[in-house]
Amino acid sequence: MAQLTFREAIARGIAQEMRRDESVVFLGEDVGAAGGVFKGTVGLFEEFGPLRVRDTPISGLRPIAEIMFADFFAVCWDIVANEIAKSRYMTNGQLTFPLVIRSGNGGGLRFGAQHSQSVENWAMMIPGLKVVVPSNATDVIGLMAASVRDNDPVIFLEAKALYASKMDVPDGEIVDTLGSAKVLREGTDATVVALGAMVPKALAAAEELSNAGIECTVVDVRSLVPLDMTTILREVSATGRLFTVEENPRLCGWGGELSSIVSEEAFYDLDGPIVRITTPHIPLPAADALEDLAIPSVERIVTTIAKSMNS
């Protein structure tokens, strides 16, 4: 067991897979000797050398590519959405893309509208892409391993706001499963489903709500595609209420799809409306005072849930 930051977990997760499999290579801007702008990949260049860790395309290999900021997916969206996502289907299975594209996602760092977006909803709406979003260091390693070993293209979104977060991480190889949501807290009154940087906030909110007599189940979605609806439907049915906590802007956010599925498949288990707690449908402002108002806060989660539960 070792204390590891989210940031350090990225390098450990990638190194674990690069040691295991020579076909795993790592590509990106400033990822070589510089170790990445977020220092998430320090040491990889020294251990694996310039051929396998390259400052910024691939067949027969299992590349891990870095897009520095998730906002920059817009710059290469044709390759991601039109080519990588569709070529297997279009060629009737002739081509396979065992590729991980990892990227710093989301706000909280006061970087403004072009370096703070949460783009999980962009990725989720393209058939052919898997979308993985870890919320803690252990999951970074385990889900990175699962993503590298998966034979499909995986968009791996790392919440920038979590890079400095720490936790005890087990020693040895960690390999997780894609498409498995995790119940982090059990409660009887409401089910709160969160993703990425919203998970620790949802947990903190659940503690506060508990003090007010509202007991929440908290589910970490972890992967939007594949989506573990079995776990989510079970937990929603058990409490009768669903709250989603989403960092993506409101329109077409992942919680909208969850709400739709729950409405269709668990409507009669619901005791009240489904409520989505999201970033509003605005470009993100840079000023700390404004950004804090935009992205769901612990306080907003608490008051929204309390108000809805008490009405």
Binding site: P57, T91, N151, P226, L227
Partner: protein
Amino acid sequence: MTSTQAAPELSYLEHKVAMYRSQVALRRFEQRAYDLFLENYVKGTSHLSIGQEAIAAGVAAAMRPTDWTFATYRGHAHTLARGVPMTPVFAELMGRSNGLMAGKGGSMHLTSVEHGVMGSYAIIGAHLPIACGAAWSAQYRGTDQVAVCFFGDGSVNIGAFHEALNFAAIWKLPVIFFCENNLWMEYTRTSEVTAVANPAADRASAYGLESIIVDGNDADAVYEVASLAIARARAGEGPSMIEAKTYRHGGHSRADPGKYRPDDELAEWLLKDPIPLYRSRLLEMGVDEDELLVLEADVDAEVDTATNEAKAGAAPGEELLFQDVWADGSGSWRN
């Protein structure tokens, strides 16, 4: 068609006759594809290479079976030239289950990995970086495979073109960028919207590459220039860019009659039709005309047989709808 693969054991003349057969086959295939469109057998769009066959035939003859072709949406000729049989290509155009991709890709996405045809790409310029990826894979794995990436004169003004050229140059990738300059970008004359006279060749120097222009209607010239570039790439000497001047006899896509082009321009290029020119050359070199007549009849029979086989294919079944979204064969995104 397999006779067009690089085959050093062929004699000088046999090699040329094989390139002639390849060009005739590509022409007759495309003519039949057009007929099938008019008869409503080909439902979606299609982009024919009539007039540009010398490029596909000449380059393919210079490639090894293990090399990779990256084509554009005007990709029937490049696919067939690598040895892919006609039947699955016709069937793909018709949306049949015996199609090259069981009808799931269509005319613009012809792919046959077993023949080294790594895809036909319908987003302009998108495949140039992808060809770099394949070339890098060969470099990383230490094989001597090369990637040949065909593109049109319109691609040179899109960002991906420049990104790919830069990558290829700095990493000395074994890739050949092959511009088929047919003078027209869809309905717009290339020179009206392009800053330089030779869209690809004039940009080569920006990436430290030699400016190479070839007569795209002369299969021998294409073969020679492609052979040199491929040899360089195989030897680890890096990428090349080649601009071939050519002309499409028809419109941009299926129903386009191409009326925006001046009549005299079309007439001038019809005189430079690569196939009769190559035929005359073979006769001058002493090839017996009867041999060519037999060859041409043989191609016609191949086209007829393939047409009938493709037409006999069933429509793809419902089970294909969700198949192969994911590598495990499934199409499921939730449990």
